[in-house]
Symmetry: C2
Subunit: 317 residues, 2 copies
């Protein structure tokens, strides 16, 4: 698979921009004071289906047209890609078949259902996910849209950073959460093309630090059953995203579970914005690495807002 | 006290606009579908100090300059006006003296402290609030800034609806929460001046329905120890706000506690926006009164976002 160029991301933007929100960019003087820099939050939690995943899923679905897509699309995902693909398919009049682990968060299963996704549950491991998906595809003839090891998905995800840097072309650093690496890959391609001097940092839970280890060791080192509150970041890099990140990212920062929770609470309390734990990982990295941001302008991709309101991690502490 | 005109509100805007955020207006296709209308949410929860109250407090403080304000400002408030006045004073280098009931929410006391407010606690009733404030003013010489029975405060609050209707001049209805009536009064003056045909509705908890009763009976009927989750709406109309609301509001809608909680949850889950219960009262009224909105464009003032994250009302139900 080729690595996407910025031209590919611009083409994705032309294809999807009438279907996705151009999400607002928010600032917070309290957080600027705390981090001693100027932060710009690209609010993909306000994106349709509540995360940036709708960009990549929409680009993938629209790029399929006329190539056997009439049998629908399929994927395995415990969360935001599942909901995004279900809605992107529904909007094109296509069916979607979603394999979800039985342990998937309640609210994310409900979201997929509400967008008409046809759910098949599987066991909570990668082998079961892949076997179940293979069976579903065999039965339905649907086209597999991988959550991030997919050229068109990565191009779609890159349009969020593209919009942010069009609005703020003088950005000096960009912080992006990394799980499977789709949004970090796409963001890095956009950022280095639009603002060549910019530093691009991947941000990852210590407890799921495969991107950090892969990046520093120069070879893919998958996470094995990682345990982190950032449920969107438990996946490991793919060949495609590893190659893009190795080429374009400047560093990967890791943060602890408590740092993620503290950053999430700051976003809710100070910015009044509902974000899921995976989104808070980028602000946690900013606060942990003043040397990378002090006195600078920095962008943060707030990747999603699908938090489970009945199971929040805040306490009096 | 005279009733403010729209010219007074425009003057307030000229005075405060460099000090306050022009807050964004958000939309939600899910909520539009549910309410069968086009809703525009003016997000004052993103305002400095987390509520529209910063507009009125800033206008009051800036209007005081050179008239004995050097001894600071004082008020009694359990919540958002307290924090707003403390920050508005601090930004002008003035002291603020805030009388708060001992039962005030934890997060709101912390906010006043963080803005340098000098807090005196009192008992949880109006007599104690007023007596304590009188003593504080006697001791300090500070100027009283009432939360809503104050001309400059009402003018400042009216700038939120003014901004909303400048952006969307074709609005057909406007829904505004009503407690003491400051933001409903200011909003009604702005709305009727900018969009003469617009309907302006006050929205109130059934459990604190003094505005409804006052409006329908034509005379002020205060609430006595109202019990509602919408802690910002427990206050009763003043002479000033009653006169404005009687003149300009088209109706007052009341909603139950469960309707408030359900609407708050919709805002958090669907819009990914942190709002306090008082803010949700307007959406609850929209959903309860389809006859007032069906097929129309309607504005909602999301008044504040200072929810206590450790004490949320959501359950599995």
């Amino acid at each position: 698979m080729d690595i996407p160029t910025f031209d590919n991301i611009k083409s994705a933007y032309m294809l999807i921009h009438e279907h996705v929100h151009r999400t607002p960019v928010l600032t917070s003087s309290a957080l600027n004071e705390m981090a001693e820099c100027s932060l710009f939050f690209k609010c993909e939690n306000f994106q349709k289906t509540g995360s940036f995943k709708f960009r990549g899923a929409t680009n993938a679905v629209l790029s399929l047209s006329g190539s056997g897509s009439e049998k629908g699309v399929a994927t395995h995902s415990s969360g935001n890609h599942a909901a995004a693909l279900a809605l992107a398919a529904k909007k094109q009049g296509l069916r979607s078949f979603i394999v979800m682990p039985r342990s998937s968060p309640f609210n994310k299963v409900a979201a997929v259902r509400s967008y008409g996704g046809d759910i098949t549950f599987c066991d909570n491991n990668l082998v079961s996910r892949e076997e179940t998906l293979e069976r579903v595809i065999k039965e339905t003839g649907a086209t597999f849209v991988h959550p991030y090891d997919n050229f068109n998905v990565v191009c779609g995800q890159g349009t969020a950073a593209m919009e942010l840097l069009e609005d703020h072309p003088d950005m000096e650093a960009l912080f992006v959460p990394v799980g499977g690496g789709g949004v970090l890959s796409g963001s890095a391609v956009s950022a280095k093309a639009l603002t060549p001097g910019i530093k691009v940092y991947g941000c990852e839970p210590e407890n799921a630090d495969d991107a950090y280890r892969s990046f520093t060791q120069g070879d893919i080192v998958p996470s094995v059953n990682p345990s982190t509150i950032a449920d969107g970041l438990r996946t490991s890099l793919s060949q495609l995203t590893f190659r893009i990140i190795s080429k374009y990212a400047d560093d990967i920062f890791t943060v602890s579970e408590q740092e993620i929770i503290d950053a999430m609470r700051l976003i809710w309390e100070r910015m009044k914005v509902v974000t899921e734990p995976s989104s808070a990982v980028a602000l946690a990295a900013v606060l942990k690495h003043p040397e990378a941001v002090k006195g600078k302008t920095a962008g943060i991709i707030l990747t999603g807002g699908n938090a489970d309101l009945l199971n929040l991690p805040f306490d009096r502490g």
